[in-house]
């Protein structure tokens, strides 16, 4: 029955409803796939007992004709979501052994709707990274084979914690993207602060959605940068993401930034005509020295939308180039504040010291990885006396300008914006070893503006590179108009060549 893992989330749902197979069978097929794929390191905790119990309840409900929207569908959960009684560490050493006594709102919504939990997914530590290499649990391999590497050669590298030479699934939601692309789960939760859903989706030929800020509750998600963080799904089709987001989103009294708007049935947007929609193409995203294949992908995306009846207009978002540097002030500043809570007192790791300050310092030195320490230091500096106005306030002013750029084009009638998702296809693990941390940050150059302006964004596969690796397109929408993204995304998906997700060389 292993072909049950080849189903889309929507087809699995429909197959369960038609009683072609049971939730127990569907879950068992995925549990087996997860076990066979341990070499990829996508899962950092497996919860087969929980999954089987949930599937059993799902089968009972289906039998009674009481199926809920995600009844019996096996999902992976990013390690950043608090799951009651199940390891929740944001893949950091400092949260060693943390099993929360509570459930995040987003995952609670998924269980309310009948979903099945397969386990927790690997990620960059505290979601800080673009390659999944900052995880305390080690790197995650993409299921895509590196060009010029055979399956045997790739298998030989799985045992190495750094998985050098294999492809990165991107980050920070690298475990989510890898698990979905490898058919280990039907869909996964992810989170996006600067591109952490969309860049991994682009690297792995999957679809990822970062909703409008405030669409999903952040309650029970391990916080990185609170004004930028947003939950979203990674799945294998636009429709599957629409189904996931409908369940994940919704009002929550426990998060004051979560809006009280009703959640539309996003799936209804799939297949809607996009005739007459105005799609903006921002000239500032045409970077100097951008690779020809990214330019070609983008032009192809424009052509597909034109064929589908959309009107294409060139637009200008003049402050685009300032988004990434401003992000690297705002995000570390908020991170330094959020991560102050990890002090060896209330949860996780404690390393003793001669007094309480030494205990804090030793705990945080040992518990945080190098990238997290670096960002906390930058954040501490830009918030410190004498620098607050020069850095933090200035960056927040620039954020106003970036948001203003989008507001102007939307006011002029643009419904959505098309850009590339990333400046390159997936790179090899261990290949970005420069001493300059900024090099890795450039991965987010096309995605970070969306977080800075709080807008919804969707990444989907648009084609392949010369070496056969997935390349992603990004759609940016108006606030709380995710439905437009799903409609336009589905039109692009229909036109784009289907990227064959890899066969299980790792098993």
């Amino acid at each position: 029955m292993s072909d049950l893992t080849r189903l889309s989330l929507a087809d699995a749902r429909d197959g369960l409803a038609a009683k072609r197979f049971s939730a127990a069978e569907l879950t068992q097929a995925h549990i087996a796939a997860v076990e066979a794929a341990r070499g990829l390191n996508a899962f950092v905790a497996e919860t087969p007992d929980i999954a089987r119990a949930q599937a059993k309840e799902s089968d009972a409900r289906i039998a009674k004709g009481e199926a809920r929207p995600l009844e019996g569908l096996p999902l992976g959960i990013k390690d950043l979501y608090a799951t009651k009684g199940v390891r929740t560490q944001a893949c950091s050493h400092i949260l060693d052994g943390f099993k929360p006594a509570y459930e995040s709102t987003v995952t609670a919504n998924l269980w309310r709707d009948g979903a099945v939990m397969l386990g927790k997914l690997n990620m960059d530590e505290f979601a800080m990274g673009s390659s999944n290499e900052t995880s305390y649990e080690g790197a995650v391999a993409s299921p895509f084979l590196p060009p010029n590497m055979t399956a045997d050669q790739a298998r030989g590298r799985l045992a190495d914690k750094a998985k050098k030479g294999l492809l990165s699934p991107g980050g920070s939601s690298g475990g989510s993207a890898s698990a979905v692309a490898a058919h280990l789960c039907l869909a996964a939760t992810a989170s996006d602060t600067g591109g952490s859903i969309r860049q991994p989706a682009a690297f792995t030929g999957t679809v990822g959605v970062k909703p409008t800020y405030g669409r999903c509750s952040r309650w029970g998600m391990v916080a990185f940068a609170s004004s930028l963080d947003q939950a979203g799904p990674i799945a294998r089709s636009v429709r599957d993401c629409a189904i996931m987001l409908r369940s994940m989103a919704g009002p929550d009294a426990k998060d004051t930034t979560c809006v009280d708007f009703p959640v539309p049935d996003y799936e209804k947007a799939i297949g809607q005509s996009i005739k007459g929609k105005t799609i903006g193409v921002p000239k500032e995203y045409r970077l100097d020295g951008m690779s020809q294949e990214i330019v070609a992908l983008w032009e192809q995306g424009v052509a597909w939308l034109k064929d589908a009846g959309a009107k294409i207009v060139e637009i200008s978002l003049p402050h685009t180039k300032y988004a990434l540097p401003a992000y690297y002030i705002v995000a570390p500043a908020e991170a330094s504040s959020n991560l102050a809570r990890y002090d060896g007192v209330r949860y996780g790791l404690r390393v003793p010291g001669r007094d309480i300050v030494a205990m804090y310092e030793n705990t945080r030195r040992a518990g945080f990885g190098a990238e997290v320490r670096r960002r906390i230091m930058i954040g501490t500096y830009v918030l410190s006396a004498g620098y607050y106005d020069a850095y933090y306030v200035k960056a927040q002013k620039i954020r106003t300008l970036i948001k203003g750029d989008f507001e102007k084009v939307y006011a002029a009638g643009v419904d959505a914006i098309l850009t590339p998702a990333t400046p390159s296809p997936a790179f090899a693990l261990g290949s970005q070893t420069s001493d300059d941390p900024v090099e890795m940050y450039l991965n987010d150059v096309f995605t970070v503006t969306v977080n800075m302006a709080g807008l919804p964004g969707l990444a989907l596969p648009g084609g392949v590179s010369a070496e056969g690796l997935p390349l992603g397109l990004q759609l940016i929408g108006r606030p709380f108009e995710e439905e437009t993204l799903f409609a336009v995304g589905a039109a692009l998906e229909k036109a784009a060549p289907k990227i064959a997700l890899p066969q299980a060389w790792w098993a």
Binding site: P100, Y328, M359, I376, M377, S384, G454
Partner: protein, 95 residues
């Protein structure tokens, strides 16, 4: 702007992160690389621009000022590395 080694030590202490002496020069380089990257923001005149406080223009939700949960000391202290009788235990802070 760039930071010297004394500033790196001061930031690390403010951030409560122990730093070994031999790491300071390397950290200084990394911090300065990031500060150099954000330097380009100075090209922009932001006089009169309102700093962003909320990315979504909605009113902050209000609720009645009443206790909504509590009485769960066991759960609150249950995740602590060291606790005793519903108290967090830390090294002595008062002589």
């Amino acid at each position: 702007m760039s930071v010297d080694q004394a500033t790196v030590r001061r930031i690390a202490h403010l951030a409560r992160i122990a730093v070994k002496e031999e790491e300071v020069a390397h950290l200084q380089g990394e911090v300065n690389a990031i500060l150099a990257f954000v330097e380009q923001l100075n090209e922009l005149n932001v006089d009169g621009v309102e700093p962003m406080t909320s990315v979504v223009p909605i009113r902050m939700k209000m609720r009645d000022d009443v206790v909504t949960d509590g009485e769960m000391a066991e759960k609150v202290t249950g995740s602590a590395p060291v606790s005793d009788e519903h108290f967090f235990v830390v090294p002595k802070v008062v002589e």
